[in-house]
């Protein structure tokens, strides 16, 4: 009855029609993974049921790196984490957890037929262990760090298991419900279960008692309902069924349409990044080449900073750091902006070197007929510099294209992320990533061809050597 009281309290304070912003991290089947372009899984279904019981109209799912979830929660980008997150004292200092909704122990996976059958952590002494970064298996391995061999941290369990299959690690620590999904699909076996008493909870922002109470009440009600049993059966009692469902089509070519959907975002990021980069590059090159010393030095410094920051760091600064000063960007926008800033730094170098090759005579002539510096740049220097820049610029084009894959880290569903989602479902990394590589290759080659055609078409006799 207390629970019901909480429930009513929660319901009366939540405006109807509001969506609960949920953060998760795919692929982590069966808890969260992407199928048919939608994030789904045990956690997603569970938090959706809980949210509706708590008076929300539904959930909006934000797929992001596991390491970033707590930060995103603290920054207010999401309301709740539903990502098979284990309740640990460390995390409890950063977030508030609901009552546990799932209890998982750690399974030790080994290669089938390897003859290696560890029964506990001590048996793993000196062995190479694969884990997923930030998971309980990772923490467990770190605790035994002194006695274990090297610990290999992976983005997802899937890659840890692939490393195990390929002999790069001797054992993998995974949450036991997931272990079953892998043992049914790969030549790996579960050699032992380590009881950790590990419990998964949903996490809310520290001090957000109202939401916490509402979710707890709704969760308790949900776990007592028949729907809970249906959900558990759907994702855990028959893992084989889940995998079979997802493996109906074994030909990776069937996934090309999905990959092309991902490529659409890759193309958008490329176009956005390049356009922004050209704007920045043209302005910086002008400032560095033609403006007074103080301004040109400032432009050169900006240029160096833009080129000096690793792209991934730039992404994280824009996506995770800016919210701390009140600027919150969407992941795709942050990625396009990061690509644009970095490319601006490189494009300014391209334009600057071509501008310098044009020679002062052109500037003198433009100034002599009464143009100011800006007009001289706009009508005389830039048209020449842009034409001469095409070969170097088409190189930059393909670099930006390929670097869009780093937007994966912000959870943007571009080509690589799409592929990772499909691999998580199909467990066919060979075929899928080969297709991805082919798509990038064809796109790069296409860009180079088109640029060559444009270079020839726009070429002016005597400009840039030859006739």
């Amino acid at each position: 009855m207390v629970a019901t009281g909480y429930y009513h309290f929660a319901q009366s304070t939540q405006p109807p029609g509001k969506m609960l912003e949920v953060g998760t991290n795919t692929p982590f089947p069966p808890f969260e993974y992407v199928a048919n372009n939608t994030v789904t899984g045990f956690d997603i279904d569970a938090i959706n049921a809980v949210a509706i019981r708590a008076g929300y109209s539904g959930i909006a799912v934000n797929d992001m790196p596991f390491d970033s979830l707590i930060l995103a929660l603290q920054e207010g980008q999401i309301d709740v984490i539903a990502a098979a997150m284990t309740i640990t004292p460390d995390r409890q200092q950063q977030v508030d957890f609901t009552l546990p909704y799932w209890e998982a122990d750690q399974a030790i996976l080994v290669r089938k037929g390897s003859g290696f059958n560890p029964e506990n952590m001590s048996d793993l002494a000196g062995k190479t262990i694969g884990v997923q970064t930030g998971t309980t298996g990772d923490y467990l391995a770190q605790q035994y760090n002194a006695s274990l061999g090297p610990i290999k941290e992976h983005d997802t369990f899937l890659y840890a298991v692939l490393d195990l299959v390929n002999g790069r690690v001797d054992a993998v620590l995974v949450d036991s419900p997931v272990a079953a999904a892998f043992t049914s699909q790969y030549p790996v076996a579960e050699s032992a279960i380590i009881k950790t008493g590990e419990q998964y909870g949903f996490a809310v922002r520290k001090g957000n008692t109202q939401l916490l109470n509402a979710l707890n009440a709704a969760l308790q009600e949900f776990k007592g309902s028949p729907e809970w049993n249906v959900l558990v059966a759907k994702y855990f009692s028959t893992n084989q069924q889940l995998m079979n469902e997802n493996q109906q089509s074994v030909n990776p070519l069937q996934y090309v349409p999905y990959l092309l959907t991902g490529f659409y975002y890759t193309a958008l990021l490329t176009a956005g990044g390049l356009a922004l980069g050209s704007g920045i590059g043209i302005i910086l090159a002008f400032a560095e080449t033609y403006l007074p010393k103080r301004i040109s030095e400032l432009a050169a410094a900006v240029d160096q900073v833009l080129r000096g920051i690793p792209l991934l760091v730039m992404f994280f600064l824009l996506y995770f750091s800016l919210p701390q000063v009140g600027i919150t960007l969407g992941p795709a926008f942050a990625a396009a902006l990061g690509l644009g800033l970095r490319s601006g730094g490189y494009q300014s170098q391209i334009f600057r070197s071509t501008l310098e090759s044009i020679g002062t005579g052109q500037t003198e002539a433009a100034l002599s007929i009464g143009m100011n510096k800006f007009a001289a740049y706009r009508y005389v220097l830039l048209p020449q510099a842009l034409r001469l820049s095409i070969p170097a610029w088409s190189n930059e084009f393909t670099i930006v294209l390929k670097d869009t894959s780093l937007a994966y880290a912000l959870g943007v569903t571009e080509l690589l992320k799409e592929a990772a989602n499909i691999v998580a479902l199909t467990l066919q990394p060979l075929g899928v990533y080969l297709i991805v590589a082919a798509i990038y290759f064809v796109a790069s080659m296409g860009i180079n061809r088109v640029m060559n055609v444009l270079y020839v078409r726009w070429k002016i006799p005597g400009l840039g050597g030859g006739t």
């Binding site: 003198e364 007929i369 009464g370």
Partner: protein
């Protein structure tokens, strides 16, 4: 007051004194020729007049307006001064016609149609025929390029035209066509200040020859006087070496 007055102009590049107090006047319709050894400050002087180089001290007046004044619109003044370069400096990405049109359209803000008429007229005046007006600079001979350079300057209808060794980068057989255009220009009443060592042109067209050496005007006077009866030893030596060079090249100063 003369159309152009240059008054005690100094210019240093670092420790090197390039102009050490140069003064000269040009009245409307006059043509004056500057001669002198290389490094004597001839090009620097011309570039000071349209402020491509800012003089360290001294005053320059064009049509009663002080070019070296504090609050002048430099771009506007430059648009009133035609400049012809030794290496033509045609805009490489534009056709001959567009080279001439660009300033009319973008600086004088005259509509395309009228600009084209004016540009074609200027090109015709320098003997660039309609069949090559759509050629790019690299498709033209040096003589043709320099004539387009002159057309680009005169199409702006400038108050004065400065020519910086306009024929010295040309092959000998192409010099004549450019000199002819310059002579026609002088005859038509244009005001011109030319740095050139073409003594034939100086004799025919110049009202005065100015000998500039070591950053100062060493001697000046009408062509007949300065060429055949120079007063300074320095001028005499220079003219002698110039004659020697010209006869070695098989050309005479009086062609």
């Amino acid at each position: 007051m003369p159309l152009l007055r240059v008054e005690d102009v100094h210019k240093n590049f670092g420790k090197q004194q390039v102009l050490k107090g140069v003064s000269l006047d040009i009245n409307k319709g006059e043509t004056k020729v500057i001669i002198g050894p290389s490094g004597g400050g001839k090009s620097t002087l011309l570039r000071c007049i349209n402020l491509l180089i800012v003089p360290d001290s001294g005053h320059i007046f064009l049509d009663n307006e002080e070019v070296t004044g504090r609050h002048v619109n430099i771009s506007h003044i430059r648009s009133e001064i035609g400049f012809v370069f030794q290496h033509y400096n045609l805009f490489m990405h534009l056709t001959a016609l567009d080279n001439v049109k660009l300033g009319i359209v973008k600086v004088q803000k005259i509509n395309e149609k009228e600009a084209e008429i004016r540009a074609l007229k200027a090109l015709k005046d320098v003997g660039i025929t309609d069949d090559i007006v759509k050629h790019y600079p690299a498709q033209l001979s040096g003589g043709q390029q320099q004539r387009v350079g002159i057309a680009r300057a005169i199409a702006m209808e400038p108050k004065i035209i400065l020519l910086d060794e306009p024929t010295s980068a040309l092959d000998p057989e192409l010099i004549g066509e450019v000199l002819k255009v310059m002579e026609d220009l002088a005859e038509s009443g244009a005001t011109m200040l030319a740095v050139t060592h073409e003594m034939g042109f100086a004799q025919k067209a110049a009202d005065e020859i100015i000998f500039l050496a070591n950053g100062i005007v060493t001697e000046k006077g009408p062509p007949q006087e300065l060429l055949f009866n120079p007063k300074q030893e320095r001028t005499r030596k220079f003219l002698a070496s110039l004659n020697e060079l010209n006869s070695q090249l098989g050309r005479s100063g009086e062609e």
